[in-house]
Assembly symmetry: C2
């Protein structure tokens, strides 16, 4: 096992200097402190130091740009709460760490974790171009990624809902209502979870015997492009239902359809994903796939404690659930009443 | 909450008769006992009775025809051990229950569980045509299915290794060794896990820019058909590597190739899946994807305890791991030495 002496030998400095650097002594320069930490990580010193603590420290790393967590109506609020609900009674100390691009560029993930003496992290809101998402490919400190997936690193796990199941529930629901012309409107595929949902849509459509072409799929980084370009295209092509990659797009789509003179759901059914608090208050209230955020937070802790117990979990998915509200329509009824 | 009175009222019998039936009293006929149990299940009485016990009972249900567990070299032995290693210290009583077709046909899963007072099950070796696999679609007693998946029931979870990751590791390994003509030889697609592996092969090949046709894929229920029909087809089509859906097929393929005059790995590389004890002893020793069976057993318990804690987990996958032995060959080296 790596000792302080090993780090000292590697850097050609004294043991006491290494110890001071690891303990943030004020007479050690920032440059030297960083060098010591990076060497410690390179020599796999991460574990040794930690076993000395009685209460182990976990952190929830939150990408500030992409996800909000401070207020009860914010997406990540309940996720954070669910995680703490299990982690704290289990004897862990949990800290929330907002993360930005600068921190990720300046400090490798493993070094950051050692520096702050965290034994594991729950990672929220990272997109595919975040620097640490590259770090996670080879990191050694357990990390559970919400809605992100890394291949081949036994120290990382992916937590989220079962998007394939969610899409299957949506397709079954729409098929039972008589819909055959179904479109998918998605935000940017630069996020892992939207890639998953897109793939889930394609394979669910295939399973149900529907075709997918450029006519009934559209995705865009800009919400305005989604509703001004793709949505009218779907309507023109005679689609009777639109599945949206998340509730925000679904909400905007309802409004846009109504502005274009289409009734929701009588002329066009719209379904979301996520079940944000907003979904109950759209007009009509939105049928959507629920991600239970408290349970996702708890799952984050379950997955992290598996990793900490050396069970190399790769994927931990929660069951998806269809919440039926008022934004989908039974085409059979419509046909019947038209015939009368 | 349902009471014994509710069951009595429903059946028009006395409370004491219900109680006797639930407690296997000898003066109750088998027909009546079954009727009481089925009514209890229909009224969702499952939970009430169980909370009276101090030590909760779990079972490991094993389909006798498909999987062996009694001896250390049997596939399921370590899975069972891993499960017990976590479940028993956590205060559960664990029983192993061999299951056959007859039991499944005569007794619905929920009724069986109530009858024996089990709060949850870990299910091994079931194939897609097992009757209880239908029961699991609507069952209410937590069940964790090893290598089986059910859509839309929050009381069931799927545990296994990450087959997509495994296939990606295999494709990366073969691509790095210079292979471009790669085939996939599979057992019957009547099992869920082999369907998953097959789909994982197709998408990994697609990601790596390789085509998949009838020329480089083959599957069959009979091992003999695999190695007498598909294998020669692959060799004739100039394949340089064959991925097998499991180690047993890989072992048979090595022997068959050698009998047909091909050297393994110099003429043809062969890769397995599972890392059975056998894999170390094939000639040459088999490169394969490891399923750590002790960890799978532990994952089974993790997933089951999540379900018992009302975390509706759908999928719990372990990281796959490539075990490099001697059955794959570097095509670049071969080309170089041919050129000399």
């Amino acid at each position: 096992m790596t000792t302080i002496q090993d780090i000292a030998d590697k850097l050609g400095i004294s043991k006491s200097t290494v110890s001071k650097a690891l303990n943030d002594a004020p007479d050690i320069s920032e440059t030297l402190r960083k060098q010591v930490l990076e060497t410690a990580v390179a020599l796999d010193y991460t574990k040794l130091r930690r076993y000395k603590k009685t209460k182990k420290r976990l952190c929830i790393l939150i990408e500030k740009e992409n996800i909000e967590y401070e207020e009860p109506h914010h997406f990540a609020y309940d996720i954070v709460m669910g995680f703490r609900q299990l982690a704290e009674p289990a004897g862990f100390y949990v800290e929330i760490v907002p993360v930005d691009v600068k921190l990720q560029k300046n400090t490798p993930y493993d070094v950051f974790m050692l520096e702050h003496d965290y034994v594991g992290s729950f990672v929220l809101g990272f997109s595919l171009n975040d620097t640490w998402l590259d770090d996670f490919k080879n990191s050694h400190t357990p990390a559970v990624l919400f809605d992100n997936y890394v291949t081949g690193n036994p120290y990382t796990a992916y937590v989220g809902i079962d998007n394939d199941e969610g899409m299957e529930l949506v397709l079954k629901h729409l098929t039972n209502l008589g819909h055959r012309k179904i479109a998918y409107l998605s935000g940017s595929l630069g996020s892992y979870v939207l890639q998953r949902r897109h793939a889930a849509f394609l394979s669910a459509m295939h399973r149900h015997g529907h075709k997918t072409t450029a006519k009934n799929t559209g995705c865009s980084y800009c919400l305005s492009e989604c509703i001004e370009k793709h949505l009218p295209k779907f309507l023109k092509a005679g689609m009777t239902a639109i599945i949206c990659s998340h509730d925000t797009i679904a909400n905007a789509s309802i409004i846009q359809c109504q502005q274009l003179g289409y009734k929701v759901p009588e002329d066009i059914s719209i379904i979301g994903f996520d079940d944000l608090p907003l979904a109950e208050y759209t007009l009509p209230p939105l049928t959507t796939i629920k991600q239970d955020r408290v349970e996702l937070g708890k799952s984050g802790f379950y997955a992290l404690s598996s990793l900490l117990n050396n069970i190399p979990i790769s994927t931990f998915l929660l069951h998806a659930k269809l919440i039926e509200r008022k934004s989908t329509y039974n085409v059979y009824i419509e046909k019947k009443s038209n015939a009368l």
